[in-house]
Symmetry: C2
Subunit: 432 residues, 2 copies
């Protein structure tokens, strides 16, 4: 049986999962691909740590570049992460015409143009199923299964840490800070959680998806990003009363020749499939102009799910390498007829607002008037009994309004003497 040599760069959590998976399913993969996938080298800066997986010590090296260059390595698997060393090694492999498999969303989001171009110029495979949605084969679905569709919309829950925090806040009625602290202790959140909870990781994945779906270069600066830091469990409760659940959502939506690319907490109807995505799971809703709505769901991170996606890509790269048909599906296909990025002010959605109003006569009318002057109409209002103090929480859901108009109205409202704490607002996604 033909052998295909695998070189692994980065022997961390995912790297160890990939090695374990390749060992465990060596025969199964050989039967399915007709190829024997052989690990030839594993590079890491730390060769001593126990990863819970047995490897021949002679495979281990600290010299990642030598792994890339090794003539017995046919497929390079980049699991180092980050945008510096990883990029150099990736470009080095592609320049040698070697296929690269990666899980590195940050690199693809921040240097996508450069690495996609390198793959194209060298006619080498660059596969990155593991970069979005962990084990969910979403990139493959976009590139192959839905290739006969123009993609109209992608909405996703793409960060397991955020979804875990929001799920626990909702189910156990706990405050954000407490859930975050417990998630950190349990290993579901990083000690430095900003990348996750401020929405940056989701934005990276969103850029990767948007580039694939629309065949245009999408930059991080094109994405409107808000995270979930400091979300008040009060709003989770109000949302639930109104039939909504708050999720950190990635939204990529084409409309009239423009696309919106945004990441933010959003109220989504409890009856929608995405609302059922709990805990560390991810899901991606993809709407194509022929197929309609499709959805893909699974574990969005972690050693095994990510390893599953990496191994699927390794099998693919190995098939292409062995049959002499690399770059069968290019890493990025630039389409001619591409939408422009919609300016933030022009993005229209419905809004949830929680106002803190002094319990004085006429207050509600004044707020409604300000909204009306900016062309924003109110869909529903919930006013609760005063809990304590002079300010009453009033929750309003609006009809669709432009971001610019909404922000202007909010500035006027929050400047009123009778308004206490600044108004809390979230977008609503009804998927209609």
């Amino acid at each position: 049986m033909k052998e295909v040599g695998i070189g692994i760069l980065g022997f961390g959590t995912v790297g160890a999962g990939v090695v374990e998976g390749l060992q465990k399913h060596s025969d199964l993969l050989a039967e399915r691909t007709g190829l024997r996938l052989v690990i030839r080298k594993i590079a890491d800066i730390d060769l001593d740590r126990d990863r819970g997986v047995a490897v021949d010590p002679s495979l281990l090296t600290t010299d990642a570049a030598a792994v890339v260059d090794d003539p017995s390595v046919d497929v390079v698997v980049e699991l180092i992460g980050g945008t510096h060393v990883a990029k150099e090694l990736m470009l080095r492999a592609l320049a040698l015409g070697k296929p690269v498999v990666t899980a590195n969303k940050a690199l693809l989001a921040e240097c996508g143009d450069e690495v996609y171009a390198a793959a194209g110029q060298n006619g080498a495979d660059l596969l990155f199923e593991a970069s979005v949605g962990g084990g969910i084969p979403i990139i493959r679905a976009l590139r192959e299964g839905l290739s006969g569709n123009r993609i109209l919309q992608i909405c996703g829950i793409l960060n397991g840490t955020c979804n875990y925090i929001l799920t626990r806040m909702e189910h156990e009625r706990l405050p954000f800070d407490q859930v975050l602290a417990e998630a950190q202790q349990a290993g579901y959140a990083e000690a430095e959680p900003a990348l996750d909870i401020d929405g940056l990781d989701t934005a990276h994945k969103t850029v990767v998806l948007a580039s694939q779906a629309f065949g245009r270069s999408v930059q991080m600066s094109d994405v409107q990003v808000e995270g979930i830091r400091g979300i008040d469990s009060l709003d989770i409760e109000y949302a639930a009363e109104l039939g909504y659940r708050i999720k950190l959502l990635a939204v990529i939506k084409e409309d009239a020749g423009e696309i919106e690319v945004r990441v933010h907490p959003a109220l989504i109807p409890c009856s929608h499939m995405l609302a059922s995505v709990s805990g560390v799971f991810n899901a991606v809703l993809v709407t194509g102009d022929v197929v309609g709505e499709t959805l893909y769901y699974g574990r969005g991170a972690g050693r095994e799910p990510t390893a599953s996606a990496v191994i699927g890509d390794i099998a693919d790269a190995a098939r292409n390498r062995a049959s002499g048909t690399p770059n069968r599906i290019p890493a990025f296909v630039a389409l001619k007829d591409v939408p422009t990025i919609r300016a933030a002010d022009k993005i229209r959605t419905r809004y949830y607002m929680r106002l803190s109003l002094k319990d004085a006569p006429g207050m509600f009318g004044r707020v409604a008037n300000i909204l009306g002057h900016h062309g924003i109409s109110i869909a529903s209002v919930v006013q609760k009994e005063v809990r304590s103090g002079a300010y009453v929480p009033v929750v309003m859901l609006t009809h669709a309004a432009g971001e610019g108009a909404f922000r202007a109205a909010l500035n006027e409202i929050d400047a009123l003497d009778e308004v206490g704490a600044p108004t809390v607002r979230f977008r609503i996604e009804d998927f209609e």
Copy 2:
């Protein structure tokens, strides 16, 4: 740009959708694949009917075999359906080494061994994404995205007609016969609905999935099949009270070297993702030993969703044809270490039972004793007030029990004088 000639056999609903999609997205597909997909011939027995799609009349022919043989046809798309003419044409194309794209689950389920072997012997692509789950790229996920996994379980809602009927029965509290009649009028159910409502269509799809997942030949006779005909809306209501929803479920499950392959209405927990699948939508839950749970959702039938899947396969076949790498992923990969089919009697699940008991002292104890003698323990009981007549409906949920033991117990229970109508029973799937 290189051209790839497409020959379409069958110009019915799906055929017209495929032609329309190829026309509409001709440029998009050319950009994505680097190939110009050109329809060279379309065969149908009826050339006069208006399909709502404009085609050059010179493309149309009644001679399907001539389309297969036409040297300008590189990819054959079989959309005739059935297992006779379709099979002959498919084998004819494969014998010429031409790739075949099909949506024909009946043919794959009933003659899979023969057509998979023909594809393998001739080294030709046989692609059938459209045969299961309409537009959902589930076959591709199993064959490629999850290739690094041993598949442990697949549970699916695979028939849109049945799911539409069950959803309407539940939401509108209507009886089966009325919903079926209305579905037939609305075009959601066939005039002859047996294939759908008796579970045969779902069984066809289940055989296709099971063969792919487990790498063994699975026959229709291996599948335990029950349909939804005559389901009583009373049971849908009781299930809802207990936190369950009734769905026609395909279950393929590996356990201790055996697989269960079955199709039947089942109670599934309302909180599970599959319970949120409403109306004509389909979904497939796939559990892999590395990736864990994944789920795929979308429209399971209809002109456009099916066309989306067919066109994705055409693009794939065209890529392989143009690059000279046919049969890149074989239609069927026989694995060495395959599970045997579990005998029906040995299948263990929890059960829902609705008994019709005479309101006499000691009745409940007698039923419980019979169950106990067969090793079946009761998890919960709901007894309602008598509505009318002498018989009281009593609903019981059991713990897991073997089919054989359960059937024996049920025979004894139903033979009691104090039992009225035969006990209604459904399996419960908790996905644990």
